[in-house]
């Protein structure tokens, strides 16, 4: 019921996916598909139309599921707004947590809570960090649920603790750090307005404004080309892949630094998630 129209969109988007391999014939298709995507974007807040709401539902169940050696749920996990408070929490992450003495993004914080609150071994959870055929990701589900509780809120990271300021600065430096066989940094593709790679528009993420706000405000997202709900961890995994870098460690401090840099730049931007996109 929820997904009845998706095969149609899926097909045209699979065609779009091949643009990376390049052929003139795809240009028109891409244009039409872009319009189509716009139309579907309007449906993102409709739980009947966006498959990511399945993740939201599963995440809600996981949040209240007792497990781990302590056999408790995550409901006492403090995401920064107080134990068990989820509403609006995502809009202020990444942030500094005193108990861990670290700046953490949502995924790092959830892993921390699983270990500290639940006494839960996260090895298998981390192994399943990204969903795929036959693989369900607890992390993607939990992020979908928690981020959705900030839908409609505006990004407002605190940025007052010295560690937060330090991590932001590190993230900014990493954004400009060039390496690997293509000499790429994030800035190669995301530091100018109105640029594109092949036909894909590239948001300028280096200055506050609409581009970075709309970008950050639309993650987590259901990626039609992958038929999965994805989080920012996966997006940055994908960009480092294009940069010819090795696989970055999941929930590592460098990824959090980049995420804080981007989220701070997106300050004031409205969160509308889970969204749906290519």
């Amino acid at each position: 019921m929820r997904t009845f129209w998706l095969p149609v969109l899926g097909l045209s988007l699979i065609a779009l996916g091949w643009i990376g391999c390049g052929s003139a014939a795809f240009a028109q298709t891409a244009d039409a598909t872009e319009k189509e995507i716009e139309r579907y974007r309007a449906m993102i807040s409709d739980p009947m139309a966006n498959p990511a709401f399945l993740n939201v539902d599963r995440g809600e169940a996981l949040w209240s599921l007792a497990r781990g050696t302590k056999n408790v749920s995550l409901q006492t996990c403090d995401l920064g707004e107080g134990a068990g408070k989820i509403d609006g929490a995502y809009a202020k992450l990444p942030r500094y947590f005193k108990d861990a003495d670290r700046v953490m993004d949502l995924e790092q914080r959830l892993l921390w809570c699983m270990e500290a609150v639940q006494g839960f071994d996260t090895k298998d959870i981390i192994k399943r960090r990204f969903s795929g055929p036959g693989v369900v990701s607890d992390m993607e589900d939990l992020v979908a649920y928690i981020a959705q509780k900030s839908s409609g809120a505006k990004f407002a990271v605190t940025h007052s603790h010295p560690k937060e300021q330090e991590v932001y600065a590190v993230g900014e430096a990493m954004f400009y750090r060039r390496s690997a066989v293509m000499d790429f940094s994030c800035a190669t593709c995301h530091s100018e307005d109105g640029k594109r790679i092949r036909l894909q528009g590239l948001p300028n993420l280096t200055k506050p404004g609409k581009a970075v706000q709309e970008t950050m405000g639309s993650w987590p997202t259901y990626r039609v080309s992958q038929s999965q709900m994805r989080t920012m961890q996966h997006r940055l995994w994908d960009c480092y892949r294009q940069m010819r870098m090795p696989i970055p460690d999941y929930a590592s401090d460098g990824i959090t630094a980049l995420t804080l840099y981007l989220t701070k730049n997106a300050e004031g931007g409205e969160i509308l998630v889970p969204s749906i996109k290519r």
Partner: protein, 210 residues
């Protein structure tokens, strides 16, 4: 005439954006490069065998990163001299291969990603950043248009050699260019670079023919 004018204008415009300093959000926050490198280390704790070199920076990558691709004059000159000295031309001096194979080099965007097979197709992905053949509508805009590149240069042998050097090492011409150093980083083979140079310089190539 009108199109010539337009071309000139777009060329001038893209030149202007190249020279304009990028607009920064706020002046960069101060952070020690050592701290940044510690974070980098923590993000790739145990890279797959043979991949550590992808993380480590050479002197040029480091200088461009720290200056956000705006090296001061002295640094600029240093990079230019170093990268220029590192260009290796084909032993026989022939920089033109087969344009038909060069088209594949320009089109293929895979190779070297952690999801790619080491033996799979590998290309320069020139179309990610450049307009080339008029018939190819799926092109990116990170670099200037290279449409009619050889034709405009009257198929000059010296210009072809300069283009080969540009492809081999973009920074031997412009320090901290966003364009990859395809030969320097051993990403493309000599043959691939000759072929893509031919794609730009062969009168029969769709880059030069309408």
């Amino acid at each position: 005439m009108m199109t010539k004018l337009l071309q000139l204008l777009t060329a001038l415009l893209s030149f202007a954006t190249l020279l304009a300093p990028p607009t920064l959000a706020q002046s960069p926050a101060k952070v020690s490069p050592d701290l940044v490198e510690a974070y980098v280390k923590g993000t790739w704790k145990t890279p797959a065998e043979g991949w550590q070199a992808r993380i480590d920076q050479d002197d040029t990558q480091r200088a461009c990163s720290l200056s956000r691709n705006q090296p001061a004059k002295a640094e600029f000159d240093k990079i230019l001299a170093r990268e220029k000295a590192a260009v290796v031309f084909p032993a026989d001096g022939v920089v033109l291969g087969k344009w038909q194979d060069g088209e594949k080099v320009a089109q293929i965007g895979t190779g070297g990603q952690f999801t790619d097979s080491p033996t799979g197709p590998r290309g320069g992905n020139c179309y990610a950043c450049h307009q080339m053949a008029l018939t190819e509508l799926s092109y990116g805009t990170l670099g200037p248009s290279l449409q009619e590149y050889g034709k405009i240069r009257k198929y000059s042998g010296d210009d072809a050699k300069a283009a080969y050097a540009k492809i081999y090492n973009a920074q031997s011409v412009l320090p901290c260019s966003n364009m990859p150093r395809f030969g320097h980083n051993k990403f493309l083979s000599e043959q691939q670079m000759k072929d893509v140079t031919a794609y730009l310089f062969d009168p029969e190539s769709p880059v030069n023919k309408k």
